[in-house]
Symmetry: C2
Subunit: 146 residues, 2 copies
């Protein structure tokens, strides 16, 4: 098994970061314009990236502290993996600890997704801080894989 982990700081209170992660109106501004479903524990949120997609079961929404999803449909390598965003107040910022855990192997696709998650976490940061995110469809793909 292999995991993706990232850590960023967002210059905003945890409540604002949580709202960006825990609501459809938040997600569309930093992750993808194509989100179906309003996140609630136990529901499915459908994220679309053109012809590509992931269906996420919402495992947890702990106010201002944690969001957890499980991928229930999408690329074979993703199905069954879990994604979590842990929030903690830091040095004038909200620390976001991101993890995408349960990858079968650390191959090319995981390396691509790792870089892509960083791209979207930076988008989360700029969206919350300045109202300027870079959700799908991004201006610039990180490779011909999207």
């Amino acid at each position: 098994m292999a995991d993706i982990i990232h850590r960023i700081g967002v210059q905003a209170p945890p409540a604002r970061v949580f709202r960006a992660l825990a609501t459809r109106s938040g997600l569309i501004n930093w992750l993808t314009w194509h989100v179906t479903g309003e996140p609630a524990p136990g529901t499915i949120v459908r994220l679309r990236f053109g012809d590509d997609g992931r269906d996420m079961k919402v495992l947890e929404l702990s106010q201002d502290r944690r969001v957890r999803w499980q991928c229930v449909a999408g690329p074979r390598e993703w199905v069954g993996t879990e994604i979590s965003f842990e929030l903690a107040p830091g040095n004038g910022e909200t620390i976001v600890r991101f993890a995408h855990t349960g990858w079968a192997e650390p191959g090319d696709f995981m390396a691509h997704c790792n870089c892509k998650w960083a791209y979207f976490l930076l988008s989360l940061k700029t969206w919350v801080e300045d109202g300027r995110g870079t959700p799908y469809p991004e201006d610039r793909k990180i490779s011909s894989w999207g």
Copy 2:
């Protein structure tokens, strides 16, 4: 042990990506303005990020194919780790497979550096493609850690 891996595509021939990785005049445009030393196998290249720095021993410069460094001075967690950039022609692009291997543990600092490497690899891409990199000092730090 834990590794960081990324995969991006740069819309340019391998020779142009290699030049950005294997020369001081390349590195200053996407990684940091503060580079001392011209890369050559066995030499030390000093990268500075304000008060922070890393000294990299150049292990390999294989024309248009691979660059490898070993960190010989810098943060405790980095010393002894290896960094590699593998280049391969792809679908109208050069695929860059990046690895930073030999981390003792996958903790907060590795998560920070993982996100930061993605940031700088995107900078490498935009520098080579359009002449617009985001080397240190970046406009926006990913957190109060830099």
